[in-house]
């Protein structure tokens, strides 16, 4: 079958959604389909040009395509008689971020009109789609809440699970992922300042902006923990990242209200490392259960300091949590072959 994967393109920016689309295409081919990727440029600033770009997507004609799997707004507005959605997210600034006052839509009637337009076009697309999957429970709930459509949760698999095979722990706690305010690496530094002196931390990943990196470095200095934390703030090769995970004693991941399980937590679990997270970390709590597969504590330095202290010693208990995390992850059966089978049902 000829399957066209349709995704947005933010020109010259490559992230998790782009990786997901490429791997989706690759695994469709492995499963015996013809698959190609259509990436449609989308520029959301200024917001007043969003409507014309919605029209742009709707005006494209597809031919020689048996099935479409579309991932994002506005790419998923593309017309095709057999469209499956795997919703990574809607245009959140017209929905939950709009309600939270964090929107780029103008604060006037024009803004409201754009919001209504997006909602209407979305509704039309959701109605005409054969099936709707979402990448997380949070996305599913938003879709139900704002648009009144039901969907099945289809969590994205790891693209390279074989790299996360685990190794002997070297006594540090590893915090990977993008560096920004929402991921709250600063909380880990504040906790480290309150934790016993033998606790060591490695924070590694690409900063969203240079300020995210410098802020973290300054904080480590001012808290006096610079000698106990390694800040490797850059884009890491997958093998480098896996090495950090595999040799850690535990991992830490404290995003604010994450949509899904989070690759960082999935990679840790695959490598049999328990995960420290917080009770407001959203989807991560699907994988991390307190004192079963890791630690779920309140997002406060003192509570986190206690978890850090426990998580950094290579005890039988910590190792057992790691094994349990891995079992929980594998039981979920989130693999590419399973994912393709469900999308193509």
């Amino acid at each position: 079958m000829k399957v066209l994967v349709v995704n947005n393109m933010a020109p010259f920016i490559w992230g998790g959604a782009e990786e997901l689309a490429v791997h989706l295409q690759k695994h469709l081919i492995i499963a015996g389909h013809d698959a190609e990727l259509l990436r449609i440029p989308f520029q959301w600033e200024p917001a007043t040009r969003i409507p014309s770009q919605m029209l742009m997507v709707k005006a494209f004609e597809l031919w020689n395509v048996d099935r479409v799997i579309a991932l994002k707004f506005p790419a998923y507005l593309i017309r095709h008689p057999h469209k499956t959605l795997w919703l990574l997210h809607q245009y959140r600034q017209a929905y939950d971020l709009f309600d939270a006052g964090q929107t780029n839509l103008p604060e006037d009637q024009a803004g409201q009109a754009i919001q209504q337009l997006i909602k209407q076009a979305d509704g039309e697309t959701f109605r005409e789609s054969r099936r709707i999957f979402t990448n997380s429970e949070v996305t599913r709930q938003r879709l139900a809440h704002y648009n009144g459509f039901d969907a099945e949760v289809l969590l994205p698999p790891l693209n390279d699970p074989e790299q996360f095979s685990g190794a002997t722990s070297e006594g540090y706690i590893f915090a990977g992922g993008r560096i920004n305010e929402m991921k709250r690496q600063y909380l880990l530094l504040e906790a480290l300042a309150l934790a016993p002196r033998n606790v060591r931390l490695v924070i590694a990943g690409p900063p969203d902006a240079p300020e995210d990196a410098s802020r973290l470095r300054k904080l480590a200095e001012s808290l006096g923990v610079a000698d106990r934390v390694k800040l490797d703030l850059r884009f890491l090769a997958r093998s480098e990242l896996a090495e950090y995970v595999n040799r850690a004693t535990s991992c830490a991941y404290l995003p604010y209200n994450e949509d899904s399980l989070g690759y960082v937590a999935m990679e840790a679990a695959a490598a049999a490392k328990p995960v420290i997270t917080t009770c407001d970390s959203g989807g991560v709590l699907g994988l991390v259960l307190h004192r079963q597969t890791g630690w779920v504590v309140s997002p406060e330095p003192q509570a986190l300091a206690e978890a850090l202290a426990q998580a950094s010693t290579n005890t039988t208990f910590v190792r057992e949590l790691g094994v349990a995390a891995r079992e929980r992850w594998l039981r979920m059966g989130i693999t590419w072959p399973n994912t393709i089978a469900r999308l193509m049902l």
Partner: protein
């Protein structure tokens, strides 16, 4: 520099228009540029022409890309302050193929007005460009004739010119190309019957039309030329192509009125082999000069047979023409370094 390469495509169809884009992408990346490749769908249906052009018009790359390079129509509709067009063909049924059997719709008032509006829109979009290049003199002439737009011929090189070599001269005229009626492999089979020497013919490639492939097979059987014709009706790998060309006597390329010189004639030239073509082959004649780097005959089996015999009998002439073929590439400045220099100037 951030460069967006923009073209149209038909999903799951891999034609030559993708090569020029994808090879350029690699060469630009090797030169240290950030490149985004943007393929957007396009269907050749008169009634859907303008709505699709509008969609291209709404593509917004103004703030993300430093420069855009547009290839296949209607990609040149995309607005950008630094728009470069490397024009490879018009939507030809509304231009030079209007008075041909390819048109597929009536010459009536409606379609004439579609044609006129398309010409006006094309001209306007082309006039926005900072510079217009074409892939051949034929296309440049058409741009001048129909749109009154001047352009510079920028010959597209092949991907890995350095892999081709000349090892020996056996008795075979080879034709490595898609097997299509307008490529006229049948002319060569007929020609071989009129040859007076032991010259051989090797046809390599696959085609979309089973009918034409079967016609060729019947012709070969009817010709009763035994081992003097070899028909390899399969996809030929790059490595095989290099080998075949390095040992052949000469290469044939005789499409009917092609837009550009065609990659087969370039590959032959890089292998220092002369080219056999016809007076009605269009853009091929920009490369091949009769009696210098190949032989140009009437599209007639007897004339072709005579040329084949000349290659066979006069080996010194054949080898000299082969060397001239290689020199002709330098004369026309067909190289990636020249392409990059012109596109980025």
């Amino acid at each position: 520099m951030k460069i967006a390469l923009c073209s149209s495509f038909a999903p799951f169809i891999h034609g030559g228009s993708r090569n020029i884009v994808e090879w350029l992408q690699v060469k630009l990346q090797e030169a240290g540029h950030q490149v985004e490749r943007i393929y957007l769908p396009q269907v050749d249906v008169p009634d859907l022409l303008f709505v699709q052009m509008m969609a291209y018009r709404w593509v917004d790359l103004a703030s993300s890309a430093d420069r855009i390079i547009c290839f296949r129509p209607p990609a040149h509709m995309i607005p950008h302050p630094q728009k470069i067009v490397w024009f490879i063909h018009h939507i030809r049924v509304f231009y030079d193929l209007w008075d041909s059997s390819y048109r597929g719709f009536p010459d009536d008032a409606k379609h004439r007005s579609v044609r006129d509006a398309l010409h006006a829109a094309d001209t306007a979009a082309l006039n926005e460009a900072r510079h217009i290049f074409t892939n051949s003199q034929v296309v440049s002439n058409r741009l001048m004739h129909y749109n009154k737009v001047g352009s510079e011929v920028l010959y597209p090189p092949i991907y890995h010119p350095d892999q081709f070599l000349c090892r020996s001269f056996n008795d075979e005229i080879v034709y490595i190309s898609r097997i299509e009626h307008h490529k006229r492999q049948h002319l060569l089979i007929e020609a071989l019957r009129h040859t007076r020497t032991a010259v051989k013919l090797r046809l390599c490639g696959i085609g979309a039309s089973e009918t034409y492939v079967n016609d060729l097979k019947s012709l070969i059987v009817a010709a009763k030329l035994g081992s003097r014709i070899i028909f390899e009706n399969r996809w030929i790998s790059e490595a095989e192509k290099v080998q075949t060309l390095s040992d052949c006597l000469a290469a044939a390329y005789l499409p009917l009125d092609e837009d550009s010189y065609g990659y087969p004639s370039l590959e032959a030239s890089h292998s220092s082999k002369p080219i056999l073509t016809t007076t009605d082959a269009g853009g091929v004649l920009e490369l091949v000069q009769d009696g210098i780097n190949g032989l140009v005959t009437e599209p007639d089996p007897r004339a072709l047979a005579e040329a084949m015999d000349r290659f066979y009998l006069n080996r010194a002439m054949t080898q000299q023409m082969g060397q001239n073929a290689s020199a002709r590439l330098r004369e026309l400045n067909i190289s990636w370094s020249h392409v990059l220099e012109r596109l980025l100037s």
